[in-house]
Symmetry: C2
Subunit: 433 residues, 2 copies
């Protein structure tokens, strides 16, 4: 019995490690096209910034260590070019074939071309791989660029802008949509803009970049460009093998992470996950989801029966030290999902004033009919992560605002005010319902 | 129609404010025995420490401001000595009588004598009132004590010890029980001791203080003593009026905060609240509960029909900057409550190492039969409040470990690791179940 895993990052290694734990005798092969495994891609912006000095800190395992500690046959430089499910084998670029009984596809995401001209230039970067980050560090060190344009105001774009600004560059972010951080929420985007502007980073929304000129993008002069847009699930291999994709374009799976091909699982940035608020599959590529879904894929591939119920779409990004966190749906998204959204947004202090509490903005969104919470956002310099996690937990529990308002949260002046901002938001929302 | 509220702190003022909001024409009288209202007693240790410099920062409202803004007849120095429910009136120490149609009792907690000899000495303090705190500040300034003994390792005792140590005193805490912070959990107490010792505060458990000598307590030399033990619900007034007490000794109410006397409500540190994990009334005097229960008492007194479902017993205390947080039951408490507890305790980093993550200890307790979470604790320098709040939210939702393990929590290196410590604890607990 052999398990083959395509992809040696979060989902793939979680699958391999979990399968090994459940079945000590299983033959497990991980095929990774690159040279490193277990890359924490979320750390790349901090490597560019210089906060992480050693690229080794970005990976959890060397291939050798994973091989040894987990007894898994990790092969790097092993690019799979096709999957033949009838033969139960994958074909490598080298021509080699590897047979499987169970297969986990964890091929991650890729950057789509976007039809932008001029992306091949030396001063144009993505920020998806360690190689991308190392090239960028070298460029910063050797070429000393002074002005950067970042295309895309998603997580990577904003984090890259933060990192470059901290390296002394003037930075302009160009975003095609009207919103930052993929959140259709005008007020949230206004706060993102304000925080960027406080640190002299400009965010221009509604700018559809067609070409990167040698010295400018969309009229903004620059000597460096980072493309932080156009991420797509990397599904060509799966699609060619007859694996069904969902409406999102990512691989469709059941709640055991199994695809339409029996014995073939998919997890991580290449796969969908169930959105527990809408009850519909969604594609939100994040490391947390990749780890959880990979673990379940590995367990089931090893013969267990485990479920990955799904996600609520929680995320947070630091913009110059301020947390911008979202979970579930904004009011606009909730309406599109068929809810009748009612929302309340409040400002309160994170802690008592005498304990240096800082401004915290909380929005909660509920469905008018069921009174169920369907989303929220938190912005603040301290406590934003904990607060969005409370809302996320409530979404998992399908909690009504009425119950959320009564939550018994921890209070003590060094940590929180007696009425936590999330409870103040709930009180406000109760008035609107 | 007149509403009389006895007590001008958290529960009483929340009740008055909420009643006013619901009924602009109601006559509302607040009777406060002291000179200030809206005292945030949780801030007293920080006033003693010197972090809060102005006593005014400890109160939210002056009586004048509350009178004016809320149109409430606030009377300070108005000590109620009896309630005559048949006559629907309260009698003040001055002899005056105040008639009511609805009554909210928010008389708070008091310090019991504990049978300790020598508590009347000048160098012996409680820390319940602004007066206590101001006397203590003056004593520190004028008498420059060098060694303090704190009796009781509950919240106030530990916070007082922290505050005195930061004022340069040598501090020893003497606790009668075997545990700190009212948590019957040996490992938790060990961590409290360690953190105190790191800052050269000694905690001795199992010490039953009988007398305070002029220069020592239980053989520990000192020139200052703080009593942080012996808190009891202040219920004499209510009991004399025929109001039923619960087994905890605090006033029993229904979920509308109404006592056995129709039209008489109780809330705050003098009253019980339902423990949502055990389903039994409990007495856990905290400001958060006082505010919520007071609000509901005020709403119902003003003719609304609102419920206060209850609490899960969440709290946090800072010990020299490290958060010690608990919610629900420890394993020992869970067993006493009739559960079959299974627990897991893990250590993990609060954030990735390269982002200065610090050691975080999480314990989760579940019931073996139902797999429901019944409690947890979190210890850490950063993120402890948010993490305990996630567990508290799960307790409100009666979540099983199986579901908790799958929570979609926010991840980004500046805030949290990809596997949050609470999820690692849940994974460990799943193995034990």
């Amino acid at each position: 019995m052999a398990l083959v895993v395509i992809g040696g990052t979060a989902a793939g290694l979680s699958a391999a490690a979990r399968a090994r734990r459940l079945d000590p005798r299983l033959d497990i092969v991980v095929l990774e096209k690159g040279t490193v495994i277990s890359l924490g891609a979320c750390g790349l912006p901090y490597f560019v910034e210089g906060k992480i000095r050693d690229a080794k800190d970005l990976t959890v395992f060397t291939p050798e260590r994973f091989r040894k500690e987990r007894d898994v046959d990790v092969r790097t430089g092993a690019r799979v070019i096709s999957i033949s499910h009838p033969k139960r084998e994958v074909v490598l670029e080298s021509g080699a074939r590897v047979g499987y009984e169970k297969l986990v596809i964890a091929t991650g995401a890729r950057a789509e071309n976007l039809g932008i001209a001029g992306t091949g230039q030396d001063h144009v970067f993505h920020l998806l791989s360690l190689d991308d980050a190392e090239r960028m560090r070298a460029f910063l060190r050797e070429r000393k660029p002074r002005r950067a344009v970042v295309i895309g105001a998603g997580y990577i774009g904003i984090e890259a802008a933060d990192a470059l600004r901290r390296n002394g560059l003037d930075v302009t972010i160009l975003e095609r949509s009207a919103h930052a951080l993929l959140r259709p929420d005008d007020a949230f985007t206004v706060e993102v803009k304000k925080q960027l502007e406080r640190h002299r980073v400009e965010l221009r929304t509604g700018v559809d970049v067609k070409a990167i000129e040698p010295g400018s993008v969309a009229g903004v002069p620059c000597d460096m460009v980072v493309i932080g847009a156009g991420f797509k699930p990397n599904v060509a291999l799966a699609a060619d093998a007859g694996i069904e994709l969902g409406r999102s374009g990512a691989i469709r799976t059941d709640d055991r992470m199994e695809t339409n091909l029996r014995g073939v699982y998919a997890a991580g940035d290449c796969a969908e996950a169930m959105h527990l608020v809408s009850g519909r599959p969604t594609w939100i590529p994040l490391g947390t989801t990749a780890n959880k879904a990979g673990r379940v894929a590995g367990a089931n591939a090893a013969g267990a029966r485990e479920r990955f119920p799904g996600i609520v779409g929680t995320s947070i990004v630091s913009i110059f030290g301020m947390g911008f966190a979202t979970t579930g749906f904004s009011a606009v998204e909730a309406r599109a999902e068929g809810f009748t959204p009612v929302s309340a947004r409040i400002e309160a202090l994170s802690k008592p004033r005498y304990y240096q509490g800082t401004k915290t903005i909380v929005e909660l969104v509920a469905d008018r009919t069921t009174r169920r919470l369907v989303g929220g956002s938190v912005i603040g310099e301290d406590g934003a992560a904990g607060r969005i996690d409370v809302i996320a937990t409530a979404l998992h529990a399908r909690m009504k605002v009425d119950d959320f308002e009564q939550l018994d949260l921890a209070y003590s002046p060094p940590f929180a005010p007696v009425w936590d901002p999330v409870l103040i938001a709930a009180q406000q929302l109760m008035k609107e319902l």
